[in-house]
Amino acid sequence: MEQSVLIPRGHDTLAGMLYQPDGEIRCGMVMCNPLFEERKSSHRVMVDAARAFAANGCAVLRFDYIGCGDSTGDFKDFSCPDWREDITHAARFMTGQTGINRLGLLGLRLGASLAYEATRMIGSLEFTVLWEPLIHGRRHFDNELRRKLVREMMTFGQSRVTRATLLKDLEDGQPIDLDGYAVTPRLFHDITSIDLIKAAAQGPRKVLLVHIAPSGAAPRELSVLKEASLDGGARVDLISAEEDPFWNLVGLVECPSLIEKTKGWINLITSNTGQP
């Protein structure tokens, strides 16, 4: 069964979809979207995943952060701490709605990074799944700026700005336009401050790291995150799913391998033994 839900957040409201299994509920999961146009491109895969997990006994809540999607508020007024707080609201809502106490988070890209950092704010989490997390926010942001230049080049024949001028604008307190989204200096600061390796000691306790690419091994930085999390005492599994980078694609794709592998891990982690 699936239904639209509204999650109260002070004077605001977060819009979401709740997917409940028909039979026994084994666990619950809050899905954390990526941001910007990655939210749009990944939408259908996240829906497919939510339905597959629900059919497998896991209740799922998908929701939009404040200022994003169907939720109230303007994007420019919010940043990472607000969205991490939203994850905690969503988790509480999920528990209240379903009575489930075995709860996990699943995040994609920036949503995975937010989920990783939100873990410490949520008392008891059973597991955390990170699909292609952004480990170093500064590196990610630099890539996004470069993508902006490429898009300008394809629109105008030549990029009209440089990364240096964009960064100068942010330093001067001016928001910059990233594909129709206003990136404020505050948001820039918060994204570029993301460093999951540094946060690993306080990160989640049972983690699935998933590298998503059509081919090739996981990049070194994911292995480093795994090691850092292990050092912090976490149980961490790192796997690869051979799928297209769906969060970047304009067309519609399916990701059966990613969903099946994630489902298998959740089954394992929420089974009675919980051991591999």
Partner: protein
């Protein structure tokens, strides 16, 4: 041993990074990468990163110009000039 031409190295990269179902040698030097081979902004960024890795060059922001990325021939000339300069 003959050194592989820049054009051929670029074609291999384009075929693999874009997952085209054609052999690299089937990519024509003077056909439009955007109109004929479906290069979009996402794959173009991948190509930029790939070129920097493969050829050990840096493409400055000021040189993001479509004239350098229009065809394999144009791209090879651009990469060649950057390699000579570095």
């Amino acid at each position: 041993m003959t050194e592989e031409k820049i054009e051929d190295r670029l074609k291999r990269m384009i075929a693999s990074r874009l997952f085209l179902k054609i052999a690299p040698e089937a990519i024509e030097d003077n056909k439009s990468l955007m109109d004929d081979y479906g290069v979009d902004s996402v794959s173009l960024l991948e190509l930029v990163v790939g070129i920097e890795e493969e050829f050990g060059i840096v493409i400055p922001d000021e040189e993001f110009s479509i004239k350098h990325f229009a065809t394999v021939a144009a791209l090879a000339a651009f990469v060649g000039s950057k390699m000579s300069a570095e």
